[in-house]
């Protein structure tokens, strides 16, 4: 192993320090608190978030709103997306019927859902949640569908020759075999749901983390915006890691490239 590999943790830490230094230098170069927040400014807002009850309250309520919207949108998307993906993978008629629609809706950029949900529910929590649902559900359907469709014949045919019934085939062969893809779909779904909630919150004025970041940037309180962004980053990374962990636990038997990440 090379020297670089041996000292990777040290070098990684060094890159973090370097990043902050460059940020510091560039902010000093721009020298305009209304264009780019300095690291100190951001740190100061982290302090405010901890000690100033107003900012703290804003943050906590925003966090609650955003996380609830993410989980609710994601949960509904999973509850609808998994069975639909299964039916599409299983029945050719349903496949041909829905496949063009699912692919088309999957291709629509998320922002285009914003006016739709706004018409139906106004600028509300429901609309935010619905945007997250609409973005996540098609991604989940496509992954589940692909997983079910690609269950190898070498698994299905022995089941058939041992006289497995439809339900047995489903629960004992197809479901376990397509589980890795389902898990990937769910992980993708949650990250798309996060995107959707943030986009919707930035456009609707209903609070939440996207709202906090957008408002702070809009009022040029950039330190707060960057601090909120950093917190959001850690939340997203944590959610992603949790999904990865669950995936590894659920499909520990499946060693494949897809499972590595």
């Amino acid at each position: 192993m090379s020297t670089v590999y041996r000292f990777r943790h040290g070098i990684l830490a060094l890159t973090v320090v370097l990043f902050v230094l460059i940020w510091y230098a560039y902010a000093a170069f721009v020298n305009n608190p209304h264009a780019l927040a300095t690291p100190m400014d951001t740190l100061n807002w982290f302090g405010q978030m901890t000690y100033n009850p107003n900012v703290h309250g804003l943050l906590v309520s925003g966090l609650q709103l955003t996380l609830t919207a993410i989980f609710e949108g994601f949960a509904i998307a999973a509850i609808i997306g998994i069975p639909v993906g299964f039916l599409m993978g299983r029945y050719l008629l349903i496949d041909y019927l829905l496949d063009p629609w699912v692919n088309a809706w999957y291709s629509i950029p998320a922002v285009a859902f914003v006016p739709l949900t706004m018409n139906w529910f106004g600028e509300s929590y429901t609309a935010t949640m619905l945007v997250a649902f609409l973005i996540a559900v098609f991604s989940i359907i496509i992954n589940v569908y692909t997983g079910v469709k690609n269950v190898s014949a070498s698994l299905v045919e022995p089941g058939l020759s041992f006289g497995a019934k439809g339900s047995q085939l489903m629960s004992k062969i197809i479901l376990p075999a397509s589980l890795p893809d389902i898990m990937v779909g769910l992980r993708l779904g949650i990250s798309r749901a996060i995107d959707g909630v943030i986009i919707a919150e930035m456009i609707f004025t209903v609070g939440g983390f996207g709202g906090i970041i957008f408002d702070a940037a809009d009022k040029l309180v950039l330190g707060l915006a960057v601090a909120a962004l950093i917190i959001l980053a850690f939340i997203s990374i944590a959610l992603n890691e949790v999904m990865k962990y669950i995936t590894r636990k659920v499909v520990a038997w499946k060693e494949s490239a897809a499972m590595a990440r």
């Binding site: 670089v4 291709s107 922002v111 692909t146 970041i213």
Partner: protein
């Protein structure tokens, strides 16, 4: 995985004309349901009927600028700007391919870059958009930056995963035959991981389209996204729906046409492509 019982519907719908017929029928059903629903709701603000949306699409494509969306230009300007934005931002984010190859092949590079890429990939990049505006103003290049940031990490991660896993699998053989590093890369790793790199490029294009519209809504002046939100704020629902339809069409065109090309170009790797193509 087709069972014998399924043969009847396979013969009915399996052919190309059959699939087209199903598509047409389902489209007609969709539009009629939409029309009937909008007649029941009977409120143009909540639900514009397909006919109303079609009418405003017609007027948009006739070159008329809707009231309240002045300064935005005609729909053709908007489409052109969006296309330009996607093309430039996406072209720059293709730099993710060499980065991904380096990461997938050299452990040293991987060990340092990977945590950054992973973190930045997990971060909802759209949240950075409002922060770019104060720094740059509503310029085209600011919007390009947003497109780049939103799409590049998807491309890096797909390339990286593809190169890493193919090289592990095929390394033994190549080493046995005494391939040099250069030969190994150009003759083994790159051809083997090409389908997945292309799949990553397609997914990156999808992200670029998303990024372009996000940037238009939040950052850029005079664009389709701005016009959509302006009409939305004016409660001109048929107008904003018409632009939603245009944006949706751009997205569908950008995502589905490469899928067709890929389907024919990589027939030799069809199953694996299918299995892994949609991963992110």
């Amino acid at each position: 995985m087709r069972r014998e019982k399924k043969s009847w519907d396979a013969s009915l719908v399996g052919s190309i004309p059959g699939r087209i017929a199903i598509l047409v029928i389902s489209f007609v059903v969709f539009v009629s349901i939409w029309q009937i629903l909008s007649m029941i709701v009977n409120n143009v603000v909540i639900m514009a009927s397909p006919l109303q949306v079609l009418a405003s699409l017609e007027s948009l494509f006739a070159g008329q600028v809707p009231v309240g969306a002045t300064g935005v230009g005609t729909i053709y300007d908007g489409i052109w700007t969006t296309a330009e934005l996607i093309a430039v931002g996406y072209a720059i984010s293709l730099v993710g391919i060499p980065i991904g190859i380096v990461m997938g092949r050299w452990k040293a590079a991987e060990s340092i870059i990977d945590p950054w890429i992973n973190a930045l990939y997990a971060l909802p990049m759209v949240a950075i958009t409002p922060l770019i505006y104060p720094l740059t103003g509503g310029t085209f290049s600011a919007a390009v930056l947003v497109v780049f940031l939103i799409s590049v990490f998807t491309i890096i991660i797909n390339t990286y995963t593809a190169v890493k896993y193919t090289s592990n699998q095929l390394a033994e053989v190549a080493k046995t035959f005494n391939a040099s590093e250069f030969q190994f890369m150009t003759k083994v790793v790159l051809p083997a991981s090409l389908p997945e790199i292309v799949a990553g490029m397609r997914l990156g294009l999808g992200r670029a389209v998303l990024g372009a519209v996000v940037a238009e809504v939040l950052v850029m002046f005079s664009s389709l996204g701005q016009e959509m939100m302006a009409l939305q704020m004016l409660i001109n629902t048929p107008g904003s729906m018409a632009i939603v339809a245009v944006i949706a069409a751009i997205g569908i065109l950008a995502l589905q046409s490469p899928r067709l090309i890929e389907h024919y170009a990589f027939k030799w790797k069809e199953t694996e492509r299918l299995q892994r193509g949609f991963k992110r």
